[in-house]
Structures are given as C-alpha cells and as structure tokens.
C-alpha cells in the first residue's frame, strides 16, 4: 500500500472543526474559529492554497479549469450503509475554451499569477479591508492601487470615470453642464448621509432624502433629479457597480433601490483617500487574489489551526444513532472526528440534493503584450448594459493588471473579464464582445491606426454560482460575480454565526487601541 504511505497520519484525530478546501470563505472561517479558541483542522486536496480563489501559474490554471470541468466518473457507492456519505467532486466550470496565439508564453508560465475568480478588487473602505485589519491578516498581504477607471462606449473609446469631485473637475470629456449635474448629485448624497449621521436632527432636515425616495429604484430617483442618461450610466455601472440594466423595467432581474445605491456611492467615496498612499478607490493585492485566503490561513495557523494539503476527503461519517455528522474519512483511510464540518463547493455529498438550476457567470482571462493606455499599468473598464450590443443585458467588467502587481512577466498584461449571464451562449457572447472591443487578434496585420493590445492567450469559461448552505455540513459559496468581496464576506460571517452562535466573528483584540489602528490603516497599502 504505497499510496497510503505517502499520506501522513494526522494526530490528534478529534477536532472542534474540520474545514475542507482553502478558498477565501473556508480560510476566513478557519481563522475566525481558531481565533475563537476552537481546535481546527484545515484540509485541501490541492497542493496549493486558495481553491477557487487561488492565483495560479499559466499551466496550473489550465489544468485546474480542465479538471474541474469534466463530469466526474460517479464512483460506485463504496459502502451502502447509512453511516457514510460519499464525497464526489462537483464540476464548477463548463464550456472552457483556451486559445493560445503565442507559444512563447508557456516558457513564462511560472511568472504568471492568474486569478481563477477575476476580476476582483478591494475598495479601500470595504468590509474586506476592514476584516483584514481587524483580523491582523493585513500583515501578510501588500496592495497597490488601481491606476484608473474607465467606462467603454463600445466604439473602442475609453473615458475616465469621473468618480469624485476632483475627477469631475479634471475630466476633459464631459460638458460643463454634466460636470455640474454629476457633482451636484454627489453633494446631494453626501448631504443626505451627513444629515442622517448628525445628532442634531433639526439642522439639516431638508437635506435628508425621503423614505419614499429611498425605497424607490435608484434609477427612478436619478430621473427625478433630472440626471441625463450618460450621468446615470456612470453612477449606476461605473461607481455603484450594478450588474443588470436598470432601465429594462419589469424584466430587470435585480433593481437597485435608492438606499442601496446611496450606500454603494458612499462606499466608493469613502474609499477615495482612505489611505494616503492609495490614489483611487480600488486596490489589488500584489501577487494576486490568491494571497488573501493564504493570509487568513496563516492567521489561523498562528492561532493553532492544523494544515494538511494534498489530502482528499472521500466520505463523510454519520452518527449511527441519529444520522448526524460525526467525522470524515480521508483518502489515507484515516478517520477523523469533529463537531462541525465546513466544505468548499467543489464537492457534493451524495445525500444532499444539488440545485438543478444554478446561476451562471462567464469569466475570461486574456494575456496581451501591451496595456490599453501607455502609462496606465492597472485599470478597470466597465461596459454598461447595451454599450457593446443592443441586447447586452448586464454590465461587463474588465480589469487590466500589469507586472507591477507581480501577476505577469514584465511587458505582459493580464485582463480579467466577467459578466453574469443566464446561459453559456449569452455569457460567451458578452465576453467576446468585450474582447473584440479591447484587443486585436494578430499583430502582423498592419492596422496601424488601431493601437489595441494584441491578444496572445485567452481562457473563457462559465462558472456555476452556488450559494453557501447549512445542511448536515456547512457548504461555502462559490466566488460570486461582484467586483468586491462584500457579499461573500457577509455570507461567510453568517455561516460562522450559524456554526458558532455564541462566538464573536474575530473579536477586537485588546492590545490594539484606536490610535494604533490608524497607523495600521496606512500600512495596508504599500506603494513601491
């Protein structure tokens, strides 16, 4: 039995919590549980950290996507007794299409750190940054700001997103009237937020937006404020980062309410200037998003969590008497017990019904030999609904990253594209439309006028969207289609509350008083 010998035995064999998979939600739960004093075992069948949230080399990414898109051979039930449930892999990806136009890239495979769940960034004031600070996981990650935000018009033109008072002032494309309208709206929202916050209610009463307006769709409120379509589109899709076409009326899947729109605007604006050394609202971790789960794993390890990689779990053990969860059986044959089990969504347990109609997300990774704009190493591009083609129902987001973020060899740029979609055909169409607008395919064609980056390599794939669930075991959510981690963190902290209702989700550590905190803040971002 040479195989079993390569799996070391784990000791001890009983834990408060076993976590399977090292994606971000699992890592956060492991770190939070460890911080709360639980004994935790953290397993991953992969040889690397991060699961679906990891950043991989070109080769690893390719093989990961391929292996997680194949319909697994359904193993014959190993035992038909009621005391074990088989753990089977669940393919999260489908329609994987990988094209390479430049063979030399393979040589530099290891110089790439490609995110599986891109595009994704952090807003300087968002809950992910707050959690990093609160949990002290920030000491393991360094960030850089995203240099620019653009909105694409679908004709190859990228316009700066006038996202703050000074950006509105500097903008060269807007009409003076538009500048006035946009900044007036910013001021309206800011006035509202300040008035709501202020203790002295009587002072700014007229500045408060009425409850009726707050409950109405944001787009209706903007119409009421007489904002022209261009300004509405900037606010909705490039600042509030809304997915679905808000002007589609009844057929829109997700209408943003005014109060939520205001919160998103507030998040964006409080992000600008939160850290003196970060210029815009958005930051990105150096070496890729995969650094984040690792940071939490390190945090967990400091608090005593035990880590074992390359260790698949083959089945879940149930209690004979009541059918409740009891433990897991490893590929090594070892059986471990724990009170609770958390698993990442790469697996299904035979007993649990997999949801039949899951939402989809189209993702694309592209590699080029140049940036969209010469001096801009990293940037975000938003294509609002209907900007690329008439029936484009959702907004498409593109993130360009350069070698300064250590995700690519110098001179190469990585682009992440994502769009929520109903099906693979629609999703691929959107991805392709964005790619066509941004890149040219072959460098030898002398289209001298078009200085678009030449596409060297691309991977397009469809990812299933699965939410977290609490059954006999806790299942964590897949990466979602948002640009930031806010919804994922919400879901994760809820799962933690379900697991440990009496424990605080990362308690405030006593030795950091508030004055230290401010200094900590500035350490989140390290510009070089």
């Amino acid at each position: 039995m040479a195989e079993t010998e390569s799996y070391p035995p784990i000791d001890p064999t009983n834990f408060d919590l076993i976590v399977v998979g090292t994606g971000l939600p699992e890592s956060i739960i492991a770190a939070a549980a460890s911080a709360a004093g639980k004994t935790v075992l953290h397993l991953d069948h992969n040889p690397f950290y991060g699961s679906h949230y990891s950043s991989l080399t070109l080769q690893d990414l390719t093989s990961f996507l391929r292996s997680h898109s194949e319909i697994p051979k359904t193993n014959p039930p190993q035992s038909d007794d009621t005391e074990t449930l088989d753990v089977n892999p669940r393919p999260l990806y489908s329609d994987v299409e990988i094209s390479s136009y430049d063979d030399s890239l393979e040589e530099h495979s290891r110089k790439f750190n490609l995110d599986l769940a891109g595009p994704r960034v952090l807003f300087c004031a968002d809950s992910a940054v707050n959690l990093l600070l609160k949990s002290s996981a920030n000491q393991y990650v360094e960030f850089k700001n995203i240099d620019a935000n653009y909105i694409g018009d679908g004709n190859g033109n990228l316009m700066n997103v006038p996202d703050s008072k000074s950006a509105v002032f500097k903008d060269k494309t807007m009409k003076y009237s538009e500048k006035n309208q946009l900044n007036s709206f910013f001021k309206l929202v800011q006035g509202h937020l300040e008035a709501v916050k202020s203790v002295d209610v009587a002072v700014d009463d007229e500045k408060i937006i009425s409850d009726e307006d707050l409950e109405s769709p944001f787009v209706v409120f903007m119409d009421k404020m007489k904002l022209p379509p261009k300004i509405k589109s900037i606010i909705l899709y490039a600042i509030a980062m809304v997915d679905y076409d808000q002007d589609a009326g009844e057929s829109c899947k997700d209408i943003l309410k005014t109060k939520d729109g205001i919160d998103r605007l507030a998040l964006y604006h409080s992000s600008v200037g939160r850290f003196p050394n970060a210029l815009g609202a958005l930051i990105y971790p150096i070496y890729g998003q995969g650094e984040l789960p690792q940071a939490f794993c390190r945090r967990a390890a400091v608090k005593g969590c035990l880590y074992v990689l390359r260790m698949p779990v083959i089945s879940v053990l149930l209690n004979k008497d009541n059918g409740n969860y009891k433990g897991v059986k490893l590929v090594s044959g070892q059986e471990l017990t724990s009170d609770k089990l958390v698993m990442d969504p790469s697996f299904t347990i035979t007993s649990s019904n997999s949801p039949s109609n899951v939402s989809k997300l189209a993702r694309g990774i592209c590699i080029t030999n140049s940036a969209l704009k010469p001096d801009i190493s990293s940037c975000l591009v938003i294509y609002p609904p209907r900007s690329l083609y008439p029936d484009q129902a959702t907004s498409i987001r593109v993130l360009q990253l350069g070698s300064s973020l250590a995700v690519s060899p110098s001179g190469k740029f990585v682009f992440y594209i994502s769009v929520v979609c109903d099906n693979a055909i629609e999703g691929k169409k959107s991805l392709q439309a964005a790619i066509d607008d941004l890149f040219s395919l072959h460098s030898d064609e002398t289209e001298s006028k078009e200085l678009k980056p030449t596409l060297l390599w691309s991977a397009l794939y469809i990812q299933d969207l699965i939410e977290g669930s609490v059954g006999p075991v806790v299942m964590t959510p897949t990466p979602d289609g948002n640009l930031n981690y806010n919804d994922l963190l919400d879901a994760t902290s809820k799962l933690f509350k379900k697991l440990y209702p009496d424990d605080e989700f990362f308690p405030e550590t006593s030795n950091t008083d508030s004055s230290d905190k401010i200094e900590d803040d500035s350490e989140v971002v390290l510009d070089s």
């Binding site: 008072k165 000074s166 509105v168 002032f169 500097k170 903008d171 003076y176 009237s177 500048k179 006035n180 309208q181 900044n183 007036s184 001021k187 003196p276």
Partner: protein, 685 residues
C-alpha cells in the same frame, strides 16, 4: 485645519493645562533672566527651545534666538570660523527648533518668520525646505503660512514661476477648493505677465486657458467660492486698462465757458482719471493761457482718504484783473508734459500724452440779493434744450475714448467676455448661486463698458435685476449689492445725453442763478445708497440727492462747481461722512436735514473715532480757542468744525438730526459760519 469640531475641555484636560501653565511660567522666568543678562550658552538656548516647543507664539523668545545666533556666529573662534560645519550645525539647530515648533502649531507666525530669517542667512538646503513644505502642504493644503513660505523659498532659490505654476495646478487638481492655491496662481501669472515670458504674452493665450481651467471648478461646484474669486481676478486682468488715462475734465475739451466777473475771476480746472493717480504737478501738466505758459500752477488731489494722490485733481486759474474784458475770449490749453511722471498707485505710468483746450470769456456780474433756495418741485420747470449750458453738457457725451488698444485684442476680450456670459447664464439656469449671479452682473457690466463708445448700455436692466435678486438672496451682504445697484443705476442714467436730461431741471426763478447755475440735476428719491459716474457730472452746480439712502458721499469732491447740494432725508450718520464737502469751496447752499447725524455715538464704519486727537484730519489748533466753553460735545463739534470751517455757506439746513437737539450746537454753527443767512429756513438777523 478645516472642518474639525472643537471639543470642550474636560476636568482632566483642565488639570493638564494648569500643569502646563506652571511649567511654562517657570521656563519663562528662567528664559527672561537669560535674555536680560545676555546669556547665550548652549544650556540657555536649550531652555529657550523647550519653551518655544511648548509655546511657539512667544515672539520675544524667537527674537532672543536671533540675538543668540548673531552672537554665536560673531564670537566664534578662528578655528571654528574655518570650519564651515560649525556654522552649518548652528543653522541646523535653529531649523530643528523651528520644525519642532511648527509640529506643535504650524500656523505660528513667529516660527515661520524665524525660519525665513535663518534660511535667508544662506547655508541651508532647498531640498530640505521643499520637503518640509510638501509635508505641511499635504497635511493642510490651504495653510497660507506654508504657501507664503513657499513663495519665499521659490524667490530665494530662483525656482521658476512655471514650475511653481505647475505645482498650483497639481494642488488644484487634487482639490480645487483651495483659496491659497488659486491665489498663488494669480501671483505667479502676474509675474509671468509682467516679465512677458514666452507662452504668457500676449495675455490672451493664457487667459483663455485660465478661463477654461476655472470654469471646470465653478461648474463642478458652483457653491465653492474659491474658483469664483480666481475668476474675478481673471476678469480684472481681461478688462483692466493697463495704464491710467485722463477720461474727463472741467472745463470739457473744446468748450466755451462764460464766467461772471466778481472781484477777480478764478475758476477751477478739474482733471478726472480712470483710476487713482499720483505725480501731477506743474512739470507733468502744463497750462497755457493765450500762449503764455503759467509757471506757478499747483495741482491738488481731491481725495479724502489718501495723501498725494487722487482720481480727480484740481487747480484754480485766474485771469489777470487788468485784462478783464467782456468781449475777449481766452484760449486755455492743458497738456501733459511728462506723462511718464503721472503714475497709477502701482507705478504704471500714464504713457499716452494728452492735451485739450477750451475758451473762457467773462461777463458782467449783475449783483443780486440772495434769496432762499428751495428744492421743491415747484421751483423747477422742464428744461429748455436750447440753453447754452446744454451745449456744455453735450461735450461730456461726445466720443472721447481713444483707441489705445490693439483692435484684435479688444475684439478678443469682447468675445471672451461674451462667451463667459453665455456660459454663466446657462449655469444659473440650474443652480441658484449667489456668487454666480454676482459674477454674471460683473461680466455684463464689463461687456457694456467695452462696447460703450457713447452707445446705449444694453445689459443694464439685467444687471439691476441681478443685484435686486442678490439683495433678497443674501441679506448679510445687502449693503454691498445695494451700493453696486446704485452705481449701475447711475451709470445707466448718465449713459447718454438723453437719459441724463430726464433728470435735469431748470430753475423757474432766475434771481439766484449766479449761485445755482441754470440747471439742477435732480437725483432725488431713487433709493441710491452710493453715488458714482462723476466723470460725467463735473459740470454740475446744483445737485439734489434728497430722499435716497446715502451713507456716504465719497467722490463728490470731484464736482468742484457744486454750489447747491441737497442731501436731506438720507442715512448720513456723522459729519465725517460729509468730509468730501471740505473740498467744495464753491458750496453756498447745503441741506443735510433729516439724516442721522449724532444718532450714533460711535461710527462703527471707521477704525478710529474722529476727534481732534485722531490723525484722519489735520488738526487745527485754533479749534480749541474757538470752541472754548463747548468742550462737553467736543467730538461732534470738532467734526462740524473740520467740515464747515473752511466753507462759506450762506444757507444751511440741519433740522431733523439728533445733534441739533443740543441748542449749543446751533449757536456753535452760527458762530462758525459768519456768512450764513438762512439756517433751517429762517433768516438770521
């Protein structure tokens, strides 16, 4: 720093501050002892540094450091002198102390000043100063101390204006709500303009860019006034005529004037400029009568608040007695001899020579008794346009404006302002913004001023409407808008002959014509709070300003012919408000009844209360003698004395002012004005 709420002190804080006070007191005593005994040892300096770190506002402590510095430099040994590091270490220590003080309070005047003093001694690195500045300007972007120091360093180290201009651009791009940055920009551009640096001359090029730049700011946030202030500066740069120009005179160019013969024939010659000027004298302006150049001409400025300069200047010419001949006309020529000698207050010379001439004839004075002069409607009839004096008046409306400017430049200016007007009209359709309205009003007036060569003023109605709105919109600045409104209204009334004639009336009775002249300009009941447009009114002999809201009659001193003046029913609060009258030597009839003179014991509009002891008026020692026995009301009486003392009033109305409740004052007036025949409508003696 801005927008930080103030916290009230807790008992803990108060305790701490008491401790701190005790510590400061002890340090202070020791320090003053050192200072007194000229002790400049290392220990003494350290003690001083400690004190300054706690209290950077202590000027004496900074001055002590300067003395110590000088002392230690001059008393160093030969070895130390050869060692440049020694001096450097002394300087570094000073800079370190300042830096610590600034950390405590970076708005400390003393600390910044000391740093300037030390740095100007040389031997310090510009890099370090700029680094320090960047730190402070990042923390508080509008800190004017830092900006001020930046200008100092830039000047000391010859940092180019272009480079500094780029710095202001960067700062404004970060956050345009920065008065200091906009201000520095205007300072730098002024330098670049003066030096005619390439790219900044002609000024149209950069002005166009600057208008565009600031437009972004005011459109993005019209409520942010920082950009608007810069816009006002730009507008000023656009419309400003770069040099002083003589714009009007009495007698007007080419006119014939007829003077009655009294004992002798003297008459005033008034020159009126577009701005306050200095340097008029017999060398710079010559007067030639019948090809005889007068040598002993004295030009005096007509100004109540500035010495040696004024917008209007006067001299009195006389025709030699023996030559008095009613059939003869005398040609008088006034010419600028050395126009470079006449300069604006900022020193720009009036580089365009000018000259004008007029003719004087004399007529026999039919001696008439002086009857009481009234300003009631019944005294007047509509004007006879064939009157000879109308001809005189007409000359004020003939095209006199010289085409001093390059036509393309003035065309550009007109277009620039027209386009700004269009932009801000649009802005005001969405944003109710007071400073936007004010700017629009100013733009419209500037536009009209450029257009006008005697043509009608096109935008006045709109401007008047804007000021009326502003009065309602912004009550705290009501008086300012009211004043501007009045000035625009006067500009409109004096814009052309036809409109001015509507306010001109003719006396029915001819008995007192030698005093009143034949025409009375009646600007009564117009709700004016200020008066202006004097350049068109230099001919006025009789003026009715009653039933307005005048607080001041500033500028009226230019009307040297004025002999009858009605100021009744206004808001004049003191005799000092009547100061321009001191210059009106022809004034015979004055009505200041029903004002508020004496109602306010302290005139809050002035820094100093007027009194024999204050320096605003030259003190006449004979006053004490004169007012003997009336010292109880010395202050008010002094004011009346200083205004009326030099006048030969024949008729005065003061009834309806608080001050005349004091009977002694009336007696005082009678004594002061021996020529007075009518007081408050009653004939004396």
């Amino acid at each position: 720093m801005h927008g930080r709420p103030r916290k009230s002190a807790t008992p803990v804080d108060e305790n701490a501050s008491a401790l701190k006070a005790a510590k400061i007191r002890s340090l202070q005593t020791q320090f003053l002892q050192n200072h007194h005994n000229n002790i400049y040892t290392k220990e003494a300096l350290e003690l001083n540094a400690k004190l300054l770190e706690i209290n950077p506002e202590f000027m004496t402590a900074w001055n002590y450091r300067k003395l110590a510095f000088e002392h230690n430099i001059s008393s160093q040994s030969e070895v130390e002198k050869a060692d440049s590091d020694h001096i450097k270490s002394i300087i570094d220590e000073e800079l370190r102390v300042v830096e610590n003080a600034l950390r405590k309070n970076f708005k400390s005047y003393g600390a910044w000043d000391h740093r300037k003093w030390v740095v100007s001694k040389g031997n310090s690195s510009t890099e370090r100063e700029l680094k320090l500045l960047n730190l402070f300007q990042k923390q508080d972007t509008r800190n004017f101390h830092a900006w001020n120091y930046r200008r100092f360093i830039a000047g000391l180290k010859n940092i180019s204006d272009e480079k500094e201009l780029q710095f202001t651009t960067d700062m404004i791009n970060d956050n345009f709500s920065n008065y200091s940055a906009w201000h520095n920009r205007s300072v730098l551009l002024t330098h670049l303009l003066e030096k005619k640096v390439e790219g900044y001359s002609p000024k149209e090029i950069f002005l166009t860019e600057e208008y565009e730049f600031v437009r972004n700011a005011v459109f993005t946030d019209p409520d942010d006034q920082s950009g608007w202030f810069y816009h006002l500066w730009l507008l000023d740069q656009t419309v400003k005529v770069d040099m002083p120009i003589m714009i009007s005179s009495w007698p007007p160019c080419g006119s014939d004037i007829n003077l009655p013969i009294a004992n002798k024939v003297t008459f005033p010659v008034v020159l009126y400029f577009n701005e306050t000027v200095k340097g008029l004298n017999s060398h710079t302006v010559s007067v030639e009568t019948e090809s005889d150049v007068s040598k002993d001409i004295t030009w005096s400025p007509l100004s109540t608040n500035k010495f040696g300069c004024g917008q209007a200047w006067v001299t009195h010419l006389s025709i030699p007695h023996q030559e008095l001949n009613s059939s003869k006309t005398y040609e008088v020529k006034i010419r600028s001899e050395d126009s470079q000698g006449i300069t604006s207050l900022s020193g720009v010379p009036c580089s365009q020579p000018w000259s004008f001439s007029f003719r004087v004839s004399v007529c026999l004075d039919e001696k008439q008794s002086f009857g009481k002069i009234t300003f009631t409607d019944e005294s007047f009839c509509t004007i006879d346009t064939s009157l000879k004096s109308i001809q005189l008046l007409k000359s004020y409306f003939e095209v006199t404006k010289s085409d001093d400017e390059h036509p393309t430049s003035s065309k550009w200016k007109l277009e620039m302002i027209a386009s700004e007007i269009a932009q801000y009209r649009e802005l005001l359709t969405w944003a109710e913004c007071k400073i936007g309205k004010l700017t629009l009003a100013r733009l419209l007036m500037a536009h009209d001023a450029m257009m006008s060569t005697g043509t009608s003023i096109t935008h006045v109605e709109e401007v008047l409407e804007l000021y009326s709105e502003l009065m309602k919109l912004d009550p705290p600045h009501y008086q300012y808008y009211k004043n501007e409104h009045s000035l625009v209204l006067l500009k409109q009334m004096t814009s052309c002959m036809e409109s001015l004639l509507k306010y001109c009336w003719q006396y029915k009775e001819s008995s007192s014509l030698n005093i009143t002249g034949s025409i009375c300009l009646r600007l009564n009941s117009l709700s004016l709070s200020r008066i202006g447009s004097f350049e068109r009114l230099l001919w006025v002999q009789s003026l009715d300003l009653s039933h307005n809201q005048l607080h001041s009659i500033e500028g009226l001193e230019a009307l040297q012919l004025l002999s009858c003046l009605n100021l009744s029913h206004n808001k004049l609060t003191s005799f000092t408000a009547l100061e321009p009258l001191r210059f009106l030597k022809s004034l015979k009839v004055l009505n200041v009844s029903h004002n508020e003179i004496g109602a306010h014991t302290v005139d809050t509009r002035r820094y100093l209360c007027s009194s024999p002891m204050s320096h605003t008026l030259s003190y006449d020692p004979s006053f004490e003698e004169f007012a003997n026995g009336d010292d109880a009301k010395l202050v008010n009486f002094w004011e009346a004395y200083s205004i009326f003392g030099g006048l030969n009033l024949m008729q005065l109305d003061v009834v309806g002012n608080v001050i005349v409740d004091d009977e002694r004052f009336v007696l005082f007036l009678v004594k002061l004005l021996p020529q007075l025949k009518w007081l408050d409508g009653e004939e004396l003696h």
